[in-house]
Amino acid sequence: MAFFDIKGLVNPLSTLKQFGNKPHTVEYPKKHKETADRYRGLHFNDLEACIGCGNCSTICMNEAIDMIHLDNIEGSEGDSGLRPRVDNGRCCWCALCVEVCPTGSLNMTKQDIFISSDADAFLWTPGVSNPEGKDILSFTSDEKTSLSLFDRVPMPEMEGEERVKSFAETMLYYTEEAAREEASRCISCSLCTEVCPDHMHIPEYINAIARGEDEDSIRIIYDNNPLGEMCGKVCTRRCEDVCALQVRGDAVAIRWLKEYAMSRAETADILKEIVNPDIQPANGKKIGIVGGGPAGLTAGYYLALKGFDVTIFEANEYAGGMVMYGIPKYRLPMDSLNKQIDYMKSIGVKIQFNTKVGKDISFDDIYKNHDAVFVGVGFQKPYNIGIDGEEANGVIPAVSLLFDVNSGKTPDLGHKVVVIGGGNVAIDGARVSRRLGSEVVIMYRRRVEDMPADWEEIEGAEVEAVDIMPQTIPIEIISDENNKVTGIKYLKAEMKADAGGGRPRPVPIEGSEAIMEVSTVIGAIGQEADYSFLSDEYMNKIEINRGRMVVNDQQQTKDPKIFAGGDAVNRTADAISAIADGYRAVKAIEKWLMK
């Protein structure tokens, strides 16, 4: 700059024109400037939608989120009962908690001002402290932006036409990469473990798979379930119904992942090597187990590990009970089940095959020769269909059909089969009949969505060209002079809301009668227990209520020496409940005998 610089002297004055402009000051607090789209203000948690999975708490790198118990929120199935509390003295508004929230209950609002002179005020519970936040949500979690992986890794399946040609497994199961990928979706919230009757350590074994530790995964599964592979293939997987991801997407394929882990052990020897259980020395107590089903096998396995002398009395050629004889082989191959039973035998469980209690050996003998008895007989006797013409030749219960087929027979069902019922057994019967070469129709009284069978099974049946006739009530089976079934007479029904507030009931439509020509009728409307092996003395000791043995929460019947489990005890009638019963009984027996 020179001494005589005119420009430098005068030029700044041009800025004076700013004088005329309107100030662009935002006159806060009179005026507010609208926050940006998806602005991340204070949290808001929809307490109703939240399931307390704790994913927000885990993801928070600042450890700003605690899961706490609130007074008016109790836990239930699929809800831990805990709710997140945020320490705003730690929060940095990264919103990862929102992005990983599987239910989308945790969001951020436009509210950006939080001022207090009390430092403790910043420890607060979203949703409780700011119920008005619901209306000013800003940064929300939706399926597109969420970091949760909502889509299940697809499971490879066999083509429908291929399936009906043989009894090969229809599910092709996960490859290693697929399993790791699927396992990585799990957020380890452990809500599933509460619903599982057996309380398996689901997050742990899934995590082990995700980290590539398949052997650890098998060991974790064997901690309280000795039939992991069977469960991996056919479990009713109620765990998946409460999966946190299931709220907005597909549940983690817990069942298929278990199958994947268990399939790493190809033979019983490998299984033994991997599980390598800690078998305690014999303690001299003898336990008798009636029935080699899931309940009996589970009880036998864990009692044997604890040093008891265990003998299982099994009526048939193979152990496994309903799992062996009631589940078609395209779902659960015989080798798979036998592998697991072989492994049990290898650690010292004794099984007496072809020994029907009540015929080959009396219950009294067992009772007297053992320190405790576990009864896991299940339901073998099918219910009658309960309509006219039921005695005709060609009317067979589904369980009998499955038993025959699984025992290696190939019964002739004729050209057309009608299956009555809507449960898993009905579908199994239908799909087996398809494989035996017949056309199959399923008649069910209610709608398809009311069917108690798994949706996967129903879909499988549809893929295999099974014709499902919902809202159909059979009224009579028609037979020819040789007492051979020729047709079935049925009525169409419509669904009427139940006056008592229950689920809608099917009401027959007058005049909708029709006759269908069939060669075989398969009834699948349920089974009941057969207690003929128990003498009156024991029947009196053990209280039986509506066909089920009455037990306390430790599976102990009124006779303290007799424990019971499985379908003959619980209402859920699935394998995993039976396993849970068996496992519970083991603890009870140990406590009762070793005290």
């Binding site: 700059m1 005589f4 610089d5 002297l9 700044p12 004055l13 041009s14 004076l16 662009h24």
Partner: protein, 305 residues
């Protein structure tokens, strides 16, 4: 005796008036600067609140006697300057504002106007704050810059009017019209020097907020700062009145005084509001350029006149 009391009351009233007008002008400056920056700015009375608050603050920390003296010297200087400047002339409705002016006081005033700054420099020296010391050295250097054209302008006036008294100057203007017209070069030189005297931008390097903390007053908080702000308000008013007196023939009543001072004041304020900051040597180079040139021209013009 009556006149004595009238004079005393006049002093007090002058100081009060100077403070009020000076503080209001200060608030106005903040408002104007805010508006040039496209914002709304504080209310016009903000400076009163600030000063009131500062008086209510504790001033526990001190660095010794000289620090106490510094603001006292500053306010003494401003009040003294004010006393020797006739605020209102003639027989306006408040005649006592003529105060103490006498013949020959223009030279005395030039000295007195520096006195406050020197006093501050002494006090600041004792605080030992390096920022303050830097600020003082910058301020004094810059003073060397603007005093030259300013004194040259005054000398030109003295030569032209053959008097060193403000009263004399005003009498001269009564006969010959305003000096800003009859001695235009002296006026230009004096106004340009005035830009530096008010320490608004671009000549605020001595106080450079945030660069130098706040420069010379860095160590002065609370009541010290309040005193300095008061003294600044009075001094600003005194300087403006002086300029009005010597170039615009003073003012005979308050309204005209306010209009004249305000117009004059707007020059450094507006220029300051839009200017970036000069470094010290740039500022000095500026003062030794055009203003000195005009000052020299004014003297030549006055001699020729």
């Amino acid at each position: 005796m009556d006149e004595f009391w009238m004079k005393i009351i006049g002093f007090v009233a002058t100081v009060l008036l100077a403070f009020v007008v000076g503080a209001v002008y200060g608030g106005l400056v903040r408002k104007i600067i805010a508006r040039t920056q496209n914002r709304i700015g504080p209310p016009w009375y903000q400076n009163f609140i600030d000063i009131l608050k500062l008086y209510s603050k504790s001033s526990a920390i001190n660095h010794g006697f000289m620090q106490h003296i510094a603001p006292a010297m500053a306010i003494t200087a401003s009040v003294t300057v004010l006393m020797f400047v006739p605020v209102l002339t003639g027989d306006g409705w408040f005649p006592w504002f003529e105060n103490l002016n006498f013949k020959g006081d223009l030279i005395f005033l030039v000295y007195m106007m520096v006195f406050g700054s020197l006093g501050m420099a002494l006090g600041i020296g004792q605080t030992g704050n390096p920022n303050a010391a830097i600020g003082v050295s910058r301020g004094l250097s810059m003073m060397v810059g603007y005093e030259i054209p300013f004194v040259m302008a005054l000398v030109a006036l003295m030569v032209q009017t053959e008097t060193t008294s403000i009263t004399g100057l005003m009498e001269y203007q009564d006969q010959h019209g305003w000096l800003m017209f009859s001695s235009p070069f002296a006026f230009i030189a004096a106004v340009m020097a005035m830009l530096g005297m008010f320490h608004y931008g671009p000549f605020d390097v001595a106080f450079a907020p945030s660069e130098l903390a706040s420069g010379p007053p860095s160590e002065f908080g609370g009541k010290y700062l309040a005193l300095m702000m008061t003294s600044g308000s009075i001094f600003a008013f005194a300087k403006l009145v002086l300029f009005v007196d010597i170039f615009m023939n003073g003012a005979s009543n308050l309204i005209i005084l306010v209009i004249k001072t305000l117009v004059l004041y707007m020059i450094p304020v507006l220029y300051g509001a839009v200017s970036p900051r000069y470094r010290t040597e740039q500022a000095i180079r500026y003062f030794w350029g055009w203003p000195t040139f005009f000052g020299a021209l004014a003297i030549i013009f006055a001699i020729y006149y």
